[in-house]
Symmetry: C2
Subunit: 312 residues, 2 copies
């Protein structure tokens, strides 16, 4: 990346998603504060500028701070739609393609990333920033997993996204454990929250292995079939479902070129990263969890420096 | 099957599911009436006997009619839990294993069916009756598809269930088109109902083909990726999703032994059967739709005759 931020510079990086946003404030080149709230794109549209000014105040950041934003804020439902960049570019290119918010010279949005191959197409908004952060922090080709509502599996080669595969696991887990046949199997856990899947480690592992048969729609019903035939206890159904959905991601990655001896870099919240590390362990594969906050800080350093050069 | 029902006999067959029930009344060996309502297991528990007596009145059937019931009425959430029979028995055996409702000499429940192989297990309740009907009507080995909320794929050999595969397609379609990311893509159609998927025949076919890549969790997100990159129109997203989910069933069946030159017998409502026939056509496979009502009538004839022998 091109050099460090100028001394005395102030800038803010924001991961602005559909339902939440997280912000990092840098003053004089140093991390000076963090803030998170539930003012995602859905909650604060269409008053984005006003909401951003409030956010700067909460961070005690100067009103004239440079701001770099990533995520759904750049989608059609966000503040300003910013085109996807082609995945063929190096991840470092994202810092060079910041799009100014119309009428705001110091506010920028990071473009999303679009990968295509034959009839396949996949997209991300926000995760490309984390990949840039990981690369800025410790350049390393290979496989990255960014788990979440929509898990992103990314293969980097020469610092370029050569494969992008998004799985709906998180969303499917939420839908299936709240509505319909499988939800009706699962007893509500204490406090109304589902158990940690690793409390039922064996059921989780069984789900991971069942995923290896590759027929997700059928294996989902298998969760019910196991309970009604007494092979699985009701309180284990959520853990089995979690193992099945996350295991599917790993089996699919193996089917699409993940070498069995590669270490997958997992960038995500600790709870989800922990489940994926267990998943890898069950399958005899290797995974390392990167510190998601450190990765994000590295990304904002690279992006903030570039945003200030852009204005200069 | 053992002979016909005795002359002058009265009996009623009921397909009693989770949310609906359908009933057929036979008098003197002839079909004398049909009735359907929304008094499924969830709606009428725990007053099953009372609800059944009301149903007999609506059918103008004698209060002392023999009654044979199939479906979720025999599950743990139904009237009386009836064990699953092992799939290794011929489908005709189901008529010989009717379970009397406790305290009611002329009322019977058909057991469900459990298929297992290695670590795989699958179950059905109600569909085994339709298979018995199809077999009584025209014995034929091969592949049967009973589409629905939970689609059943069944391979019969020598009149026995040698493979049972349940796919959650119908439930996944309902969940994904009502909640979450994909639902938010789809514009509400006129009258609040989704378009018939075959109105967007090309998008449906694209979904069927995409299913061939075999990664359902990833291909579901692909529906969104196609819309946000302009490859698919919003109004086509539902048809694409339908093609993807139903196509997944067909590709999974091929992967599990369905010969490419076999004709799959589809037993289901006309709307769903039509979608599956198109699915087969897109993939260059053959499917024939059986008349679901005729199949069910054949089943009740076989089951009614047997129930009356049981009492004799």
């Amino acid at each position: 990346m091109s050099g460090a931020a100028p001394a005395g510079a102030h800038w803010v990086g924001i991961d602005w998603g559909t339902t939440h946003r997280r912000a990092w404030y840098f003053a004089g080149g140093e991390l000076a504060g963090r803030y998170a709230d539930d003012q995602g794109v859905l909650a604060c549209a269409p008053r984005f500028a006003e909401s951003l000014r409030e956010l700067l105040q909460r961070l005690s950041a100067p009103a004239d701070s440079t701001v770099v934003m990533a995520g759904m804020v750049g989608s059609a439902t966000g503040w300003q739609e910013v085109p996807y960049l082609d995945a063929g570019q190096p991840v470092t290119a994202w810092a060079r393609q910041l799009v100014p918010v119309a009428g705001a010279a110091r506010w920028f949005i990071v473009p999303g990333c679009c990968w295509q191959q034959g009839d396949e197409v996949d997209v991300m908004r926000g995760e490309e920033t984390q990949l840039l952060g990981a690369w800025s922090w410790a350049p390393r080709d290979g496989w990255y997993l960014l788990p979440g509502t929509h898990s992103k599996w990314v293969q980097l080669r020469d610092g370029r996204v050569v494969q992008l595969r998004t799985c709906m696991s998180g969303e499917l887990y939420a839908l299936l454990s709240r509505h319909g046949t499988l939800a009706s199997l699962m007893p509500p856990a204490a406090g109304g929250r589902a158990d940690d899947p690793l409390v039922h480690a064996q059921a989780f592992a069984q789900g991971v292995h069942a995923a290896g048969r590759g027929d997700l729609s059928r294996e989902l019903f298998g969760c019910r079939a196991r309970v009604v035939t007494g092979r699985l206890r009701r309180e284990e159904a959520g853990a089995y479902l979690s193992g099945l959905l996350l295991g599917t991601e790993w089996h699919e990655a193996l089917a699409h070129g993940l070498p069995r001896d590669a270490a997958v870099c997992v960038i995500g919240c600790p709870a989800l990263s922990r489940l994926h590390l267990r998943c890898a362990q069950v399958l005899g594969l290797e995974a390392v969890a990167l510190d998601a906050d450190a990765v994000q800080v590295a990304a904002w350093r690279a992006l903030g420096a570039r945003a200030m050069e852009t204005q200069a």
